[in-house]
Amino acid sequence: MRKILGRVVPAAIPLVVFMVGMEWLVRVGWIKAFLVPPPSAVFNTLLRDWRELFTALAKTSAGALAGFALSATGGIAIGVFLSSSRAIQRAFYPYAVFFQTVPIIAVAPLLVIWFGYGMRTVVASAFIVSIFPVIANTLSGLLSTDPALRDLFRLYGASNSATLWKLRFPAALPQILTGLRIAGGLAVIGAIVGEFIGGQGLGSVVDVARTQQRTDKVFAAVLLASALGLALFGFINLLSRVLLRRWHASEQD
């Protein structure tokens, strides 16, 4: 309990300071309420429209999580594939970059036609947006294996797959987890962009609220999206803690 408090309180302090400051700035009129709503209004909206917002959040969560799961597995798989030789990297890594720089909005019609309106487009969008960091971090982690340990495995005639799973992958884990940390937030963004196109969830709420000039609702939805991002982030931190605590410097106090 103490421990949890010890983690939440430091994170909450800047938030509280920020909120109070915003409320004050809006109240005295330095910031116009139709641009940035006062935090109190956002809270009111969260309470008043909670049913709509939380239903939307549930959908977005499902889309983002599915996209994230695909990115995590796909990104690691592609990273592993790319790590197998310099030639393969040269041949295919540029395409991963290519894939990353395609603006979803430009290929929206293709998404809709291939995946239809709704969840599948959302998942595809979350996936496309979030896979590259996993690939890049996995690859760079896999390429950084201590050459001495690689020699050890070579000596014992370890198969490629044994070398991968017993050496290179565990050694790359800290970096892969960093890739996942980045992918988590991007999957949420990707899901929301997908929802602009595919029409559901928080993306849809934001879209409607924007046309309605309901900044309070836009911010409430953004807040929920961020909370989802934070939850994913927290989950990966936990995973990182569990997996690395015993041996890696980054998880030792």
Binding site: A108, S204, Q212, Q213
Partner: protein
């Protein structure tokens, strides 16, 4: 006076015939140094006017009512489109007679959150049609799926579809009684109070601009094509011709209390605004 400083007019889309009058206007003649700022998808012109990041902006009448309800003091000065060009188009092959027919099957893409969408829903219900977000001017899905209908601009997408060899049937939203002024020149209440002279000059210049454009769109079209080369020159001429009925040349920007009141009442009924503002607050005749 103020007229020497630069004045920004925020458009909510790229240079195209919809803004012909603004590009045809000779602002200098009225002592104005105006910079036209082309926008893109999601350019928030209403907020920009309110926040002072543009002195003037192009908005829709319903946007203005929503803005005022949210505490954003924006006032309309000149309504270019007397009739709302927003419409719904469907494949002609479906042989639909009315909007009601259209809502009985298939998919309809609507821009999320617009009042008329809720009006449609209230009137006919969306039970048997699938509502999806508008692809914003893109026709890919429409061309790919006969049972796909989408919100459009009377003067834009239907022409495009025809060019791609698809016959369409178009239902203007004014048919269901929703007809907000569109491509409205607006200004912040504050600026209007402080410098009514400036606003007046602006309106005069714009009115003359539209008159000139209606008479001869060619040179303004040329200018806009230069700024927006992705649109072909032929399209400019075609659209300029097609939009004439919507502009109602006889009125040239004039607005009436009655129409503003009707719109306010409609939005109030839809629950988009908490109370209807007096029409006089919303626009100013200069």
């Amino acid at each position: 006076s103020k007229s020497s400083s630069k004045i920004r007019l925020a458009l909510n889309w790229k240079p195209d015939p919809e803004f012909g009058g603004f590009y045809a206007a000779d602002f200098a003649k009225h002592g104005l140094d105006v910079e036209l700022l082309p926008g893109g998808s999601g350019t928030p012109t209403v907020q920009m006017i309110g926040a002072g990041s543009a002195e003037f902006g192009i908005i829709q009448a319903d946007e203005l009512l929503l803005a005022r309800a949210r505490g954003n003091d924006v006032v309309a000065l000149y309504a270019a489109f007397q009739n709302c060009p927003t419409a719904i188009m469907a494949h002609a092959s479906r042989k639909l007679e009315t909007i009601a027919d259209l809502l009985k099957s298939g998919t309809l893409a609507l821009e999320s959150g617009l009042p008329f969408a809720r009006m449609l829903k209230k009137k006919y219900g969306f039970d048997s049609v699938k509502i999806v977000p508008s692809p914003g001017g893109d026709l890919t899905t429409f061309l790919n799926d006969e049972n796909f209908a989408q919100q459009c601009f009377l003067t834009a997408e239907p022409l495009q579809a025809k060019r791609k060899g698809v016959e369409v049937k178009v239902f203007p939203v004014s048919d269901i009684g929703y007809n907000p002024y569109t491509t409205v020149l607006a200004v912040s209440g504050e600026l209007l109070r402080k410098n009514p002279e400036l606003a007046k000059n602006m309106v005069t210049a714009v009115r003359e601009g539209w008159r000139a454009y209606l008479d001869n769109p060619a040179s303004a079209n040329q200018k806009m094509h230069g700024l927006n080369p992705s649109m072909e020159l032929a399209s400019f001429a075609e659209i300029a011709e097609a939009q004439k009925p919507l502009l109602e040349t006889s009125l040239l920007g004039k607005m009436t209390t009655e129409r503003w009141s009707t719109l306010a009442a409609q939005l109030l009924e839809l629950g988009d605004i908490p109370k209807a503002p007096p029409a006089a607050e919303c626009f100013r005749e200069l």
